[in-house]
Amino acid sequence: MNVWIAIGATTAGCYAVKLTGLLVPAGVLDRPLVKRLAALLPVALLAALTAQQTFADRHGLVLDARAAGLAAAAVALLLRAPFLVVVAAAVVVTAGVRALAG
């Protein structure tokens, strides 16, 4: 049930912001500070989410195979690898480190 509540709220919220952009007159949101904030908000959220999903488990912070996987993804990004290769590098290295650690 909880999952459906989350799906419903996300659907409503994400659709509302998409439609808002198409409906409001230009100029209402078109201010330098608002635009700047809108560009930086995803940066903050994505950075926090990347860190949490790499170093968090249910009890707190841990350093495990995922960190090695994310490092591999970072190297792939520096080498300008395509999106799927970046994700695949993280998955393969994480699985490899887990298999080696047994």
Binding site: N2, I5, A6, I7, A9, T10, T11, G13, C14, Y15, V17, K18, T20, G21, L22, L23, V24, A26, D30, K35, L37, A38, A39, L40, L41, P42, V43, A44, L45, L46, A47, A48, L49, T50, A51, Q52, Q53, T54, F55, A56, R58, G60, L61, A65, R66, G69, L70, A73, L77, F83, L84, V87, A89, A90, V91, V92, V93, T94, A95, R98
Partner: protein
């Protein structure tokens, strides 16, 4: 985005969502980063509304895409509720690259339709594939989510401001994790964005406190 639907399907399955819930998210939400954020927060045991709030804030950027698009596309009002679902990163990039209104409308429609079909088909493929794999963690698939976030984040880190926001957000997100309920630290980490902007504004407002010998012409660009 089309191909990463597989990654989303697999991640959602690994987060404990079933096939119907996963496909409902791709059909109804249709904005990748928000979907990844939501299933990640749910997997971490977050409250459903807190989890949805994180996904919502990631989706706010689409409102600004819509602003640009509505000027270029000039859609009739009754069409806008239908077009809205396709207002995402990729359709915006394609539409804004077109030379005229006609090609912009064609670009928006073709990209929107293609990506919508692809994203949903690949989501289904991913979630069914994950079911066949069994324990997705053993295959390292729990690393797919953070890798997707990193891949989305990397091209955004162009200037020192973006890097400062990202660094502060990581500190807030990890530092608050042990003391606050799941999902809340990410929302507070979002405050890194207005925080850094505020600090930047203060620095600009008080040039006499800037670094000695700094070129004044470098300010206020």
């Amino acid at each position: 985005m089309g191909l990463s639907g597989v990654a989303f399907g697999v991640t959602a399955a690994g987060s404990g969502l079933d096939v119907v819930q996963t496909c409902a998210l791709s059909l109804l939400v249709f904005t990748g980063a928000s979907q990844f954020a939501l299933v990640g927060a749910l997997a971490a045991g977050g409250n459903p509304l807190t989890a949805a709030a994180g996904a919502f804030f990631l989706g706010v950027r689409n409102a600004f895409y819509g602003l640009r698009l509505s000027q270029v596309l000039a859609l009739p009002r009754r069409v806008r509720p239908f077009a809205a679902q396709w207002v995402i990163d990729e359709t915006t990039a394609v539409t804004l690259a077109q030379p005229g209104r006609r090609s912009a409308r064609i670009g928006f429609t073709v990209t929107g339709l293609t990506l919508y079909v692809l994203w949903n088909l690949t989501t289904l493929l991913g979630v069914l594939g994950a079911g066949a794999l069994g324990d997705t963690d053993a295959w390292g698939l729990d690393a797919a989510g953070p890798a997707v976030f990193l891949a989305l984040l990397a091209p955004m880190l162009r200037t020192a401001t973006e890097r400062a926001v990202a660094g502060l957000a990581v500190l807030l997100g990890l530092g608050l994790l042990p003391v606050l309920p799941a999902g809340v630290p990410v929302l507070l980490a979002a405050l890194a964005a207005p925080g850094v902007l505020w600090l930047e504004g203060r620095r600009r407002g008080a040039p006499d406190r800037g670094p000695v010998g700094a070129d004044p012409r470098g300010e206020d660009r």
